[in-house]
């Protein structure tokens, strides 16, 4: 299979949620000795981007999104050990610390954003739900994060997104991290009013926003 056909098949495997094919194509790329960073960028990432677009249009829903993200992971599970072996650094778009803010246990949206960011090439550290605001900062400092993503479903806990940004300021860390906020009650206007750098209405738009914030 030539490179262009291989890339096309990779993209198709992700869009159609065909895990065995996604894995098979990755093995084929390794066998052919291709540049694996290029394989990811030109083969798999366009697939997950198309999935995001289909989700945004209401053609794809949560089951398709999760299946495609799993296909992406199946391919990465083949490619990443090979890259480590060959001492090739895998290109990361940046490090993201994500979680649902304290007082809130809702995680459907947060999990979707985390898996889509990961599938698109971000390194994601998911702190789970009901995460103390301090903990976001500790983790971001420890791993050298680029982005911090805060989710909240309730109007009451959404206020913690503002508190978090205030807390960053108090710690003299304002501006060090780009902060993205999301969740059912959050809006662009809310994000702006509290001084967050990013906002997204859904997981597909979160990827776009995150990429823009890291200059990609």
């Amino acid at each position: 299979m030539n490179k262009e056909d291989l890339y096309r098949s990779m993209r198709k495997a992700i869009v159609e949620g065909d895990k065995p094919a996604a894995r098979q194509m990755a093995l084929e790329a390794v066998r052919q000795g291709l540049d694996l960073n290029e394989v990811i960028d030109k083969g798999y990432v366009p697939g997950i981007q198309e999935v995001g677009d289909l989700w945004g249009k209401g053609e794809y829903f949560l089951p398709e999104l999760i299946t495609s993200a799993e296909c992406m992971k199946a391919a990465m599970d083949v490619l990443q050990p090979e890259m480590t072996k060959a001492n090739v650094k895998s290109r990361s778009l940046g490090k993201v610390v994500i979680g649902t803010v304290e007082g809130d246990i809702h995680d459907i949206g947060k999990n979707l954003v985390a898996s889509m960011l990961q599938a698109n090439g971000f390194e994601v550290i998911d702190l789970g739900t009901d995460v103390k605001l301090e903990r976001f900062i500790e983790k971001a400092e420890a791993v050298g994060a680029d982005l911090i993503c805060l989710s909240a479903l309730l109007t009451t806990t959404m206020a913690n997104q503002k508190k978090f940004i205030d807390l960053l300021g108090t710690r003299g860390l304002g501006g060090k991290y780009k902060v993205l906020v999301g969740g059912a009650p959050a809006t662009r206007k809310w994000a702006e009013s509290i001084g967050a750098q990013g906002y997204a209405e859904n997981a597909a738009l979160a990827v776009r926003e995150a990429k823009a914030l890291v200059g990609r």
Binding site: K57, G58, E59, Y60, F61, L62, P63, E64, I66, T67, E102, G103, D104, I105, H106, D107, I108, T129, D130, L154, T155, T156, T157, M158, A159, N160, K162, P185, T187, K189, W190, S193, I194
Partner: protein, 303 residues
């Protein structure tokens, strides 16, 4: 024989309540606390909220048990108290209900996913919902309302469980939909026609939608349901989207007048049971009650 809520549905549009969680929060539920815990800690507060809805004209209220399945309660370490908290929820509403009014036992989603997207099996879901439904029935619920479901498979599991654990009670089922160019779909991609057909086959007494969309958007959604089924249709819209002021005050994008203004169209489109969801309060219900009892909204007899 005592009139049931289904008898009333055949007579005229039936009025449910508005938001409950938001009323509980307004009365000081601490952040991160379990709303259902107030069924034993602050029963008088819950009872007063129900009473305010009955006073505003609700024919039925839904109990404070939305997150009362043991799967959801586990997030607060309260799973062992599921039966107790649900029975208490129904008892409190029963105590608040004037003679001839109804108590709807609320069953919300677990917040988890069935396999393969999640870890749950249908059997686990049915066990948890059966425990909840049985307790609501014992506490005195007149009917059950499975609501805000985002997955048809979970809604069906709840419906089956409710019908087996609370044999005598009618079960209403509402899912929550988003609007797309191709129509209305749940998070999992279930469309209106498929939802209505599957729920009807599994024995739902009434079907419909709640949450997510506002009352203007509900007009089309209800019409889509009416095309798909002859069952009574339930419609509980949000008062638009919430916005949080920097002062911490929550305001919803639809005003009271705008919200209620679409209620006649929702009923005309085919809704038989109406009420409110997030952002609606007793004053919304009071206005809706005036509309319904003025009698200038016709009752459709599609059933």
């Amino acid at each position: 024989m005592k009139q049931t809520i289904l008898d009333l549905v055949r007579e005229r549009p039936v009025l449910l309540d508005g938001g409950l969680g938001s009323e509980i929060i307004a009365r000081g539920l601490p952040q991160g606390a379990c709303p259902e815990a107030w069924n034993t800690e602050r029963p008088e507060t819950i009872k007063a909220i129900h009473a305010s809805y009955y006073e505003a004209g609700s024919d039925a209220v839904s109990t404070n048990s939305f997150g009362g399945s043991r799967i959801k309660l586990a997030a607060y370490g309260l799973e062992a108290r599921a039966a107790e908290l649900n029975a208490a929820a129904a008892r409190i509403a029963r105590e608040a209900a004037p003679a001839g009014r109804f108590v709807g036992g609320s069953i919300g989603p677990t917040g988890k996913f069935l396999k393969p997207q999640g870890e749950l099996t249908e059997a686990e879901l049915e066990d948890a919902f059966a425990e909840q439904a049985g307790a609501l029935a014992r506490g005195g619920a007149d009917f059950l309302i499975v609501e805000t479901q985002y997955d048809l498979r979970e809604a069906l599991a709840a419906l089956r469980a409710a019908r087996s654990a609370a044999l005598a009670l009618p079960v209403f089922v509402t899912l929550t939909f988003n609007a797309y160019p191709r129509g209305y779909f749940t998070l999992m991609g279930n469309g209106v026609a498929a939802v209505a057909e599957a729920l009807e086959k599994e024995g739902a007494s009434a079907v419909g939608a709640n949450c997510t969309l506002d009352s203007r958007e509900f007009v089309g959604l209800v019409a889509a349901f009416r095309q798909a089924t002859r069952l009574p249709i339930v419609a509980q819209a949000n008062a638009g989207r919430p916005a949080l002021g920097t002062d911490g005050e929550v305001a919803y994008s639809q005003s009271l007048e705008e919200y209620v203004g679409f209620v006649p169209a929702i009923i005309e489109a085919g809704a038989n049971v109406v009420g409110g969801c997030c952002g609606t309060r007793p004053e919304h219900i009071r206005k809706m009650s005036e509309l319904i009892h003025q009698g200038n909204i016709g009752t459709r007899r599609d059933q």
